[in-house]
């Protein structure tokens, strides 16, 4: 892992210039729909909308989106199958309506994951962190999160460089050597993170930092047309789901 594919997609997305608040509202609406609407057709509609918006107007590479959804998919499949297996005195078997329940569980989770991934692949973390301030998260906490975000790329680069050097020296050629290399790798990354933090602090102190890290946040204006379209689309998903399912919520 050299960089983070989802983050790279967010920076180069066609929706990068859109207001993070607008995208947050759309994705929160989709996540809410995925959670409370019946799996059929609610989750299917949410999933299709999220994937369609990501690969269509937001121009997120299909490969990046597909690779990212693999992680939750593995958990969802194992979790859903485990949830519908029944263990009793008669041994192991399928619970009543196992296929329907597993499909429902997987549907809610996949649609929700796709909605979160739509936000992740269109909005860089540095755009989302200022939104935490508006949610009344203390400034110090947001600053720590901001430094974490900026430092993790430096540390991932260090991780990759050290690992490459270890591999060239046969450091990962056996289980024993792999563990030894992993320990050295973790220690190397930790000491480098301390060193980076100390050097940053010294540099900022030299520039007069006394209380907090002040930066000028990029202002991305909200779009009424985007919000109106999002609200209409979400209302359409809710209406269609309730119509098809007969008005029952999940």
């Amino acid at each position: 892992m050299r960089g983070l594919a989802v983050d790279e997609a967010a920076w180069s997305s066609a929706w990068r210039g859109r207001s993070p608040g607008d995208k947050l509202l759309l994705c929160a609406g989709l996540v809410g729909c995925a959670l409370v609407l019946p799996a059929w057709p609610g989750s299917a509609l949410v999933g299709l909308t999220a994937v369609g918006l990501a690969l269509g107007p937001a121009r997120v590479p299909a490969r990046t989106f597909g690779r990212a959804i693999r992680w939750p998919l593995a958990f969802i499949l194992v979790g859903a199958v485990t949830a519908v297996v029944s263990v009793g005195d008669g041994g192991i078997g399928w619970a009543p309506d196992a296929a329907a329940r597993a499909g429902e569980l997987a549907g809610h989770a996949l649609a929700g994951s796709a909605a979160v991934l739509l936000l992740a692949t269109t909005t860089p973390m540095s755009d989302l962190l200022p939104a935490l301030r508006r949610l009344r998260v203390p400034a110090a906490v947001v600053e720590v999160a901001g430094v974490t975000y900026r430092l993790l790329f430096v540390l991932l680069e260090s991780l990759h460089t050290i690992r490459e050097a270890q591999t060239a020296r046969m450091g990962w050629s056996s289980v024993r050597r792999s563990y030894r290399s992993a320990g050295l790798l973790a220690a190397g990354v930790l000491t480098r993170s301390w060193d980076r933090a100390r050097r940053l602090q010294e540099g900022l102190a030299g520039r007069g930092m006394e209380t907090d890290l002040r930066v000028l946040p990029e202002v991305l204006p909200s779009s009424r047309a985007f919000l109106a379209t999002a609200a209409t689309g979400l209302a359409g998903i809710v209406a269609l789901s309730l119509l098809v399912s007969g008005g029952a919520l999940a």
Partner: protein, 230 residues
Amino acid sequence: MHIAEGFLPPAHAIGWTVAAAPFVAHGARAVVTEVRENPESTLLLGAAGAFTFVLSAIKLPSVTGSSSHPTGTGPGAILFRPPVMALLGTVVLLFQALLLAHGGLTTLGANAFAFAVVGPWAGYGAYRLTRAAGAGLLPAVFVGVALADLATYLMTSLQLALAFPDATSGFVGALAKFLAVFALTQVPLAIGEGLLGVLLFRVLTRNARPELERLGVLEPATPTTAGSPL
């Protein structure tokens, strides 16, 4: 092992968020106080958060022949204490959800309770008890880090069992199912992460002793003290 977005029913997602909130708020208050007294701590705490995130990107060889990733909260709890890890762990979970698609936003509370609260507290408690029983640093680190991992996995299984009780045997049967399924990956991972913790702290005691002393992990070395308390 993070619970994916949308996997928990809404009532459970809200319930676990409410359960995790006091611990995360306590951690946030500790961080705010620390930053107010020492503004430069922002950078060190940020580095600690980034390290926890990056630690979860290190691949460990697995008994199944593939590889797995450590949780990273065990070493963090020993180095930075559980209250700070409650906040840093939650920040890391948010980043994992939005940068790696691991976990989710509505399941952030449930994952934070397991990964950032129960895991660090269980691991740190085990580490302190083992040290108090007279064990050296490295055995205590192994116990603490492995237990932090195991406690996270036990808590996640419990959360899933509460959400999806077995049709025949109820909560107990469901707990047994989830524990058995995830044990295949999580038990070897806990042992592997314990070993990684030992190797990490062995290197740190050689290369970063002043930092470990400043964090209170090691007693400051005095000229009359011979040898290290390993």
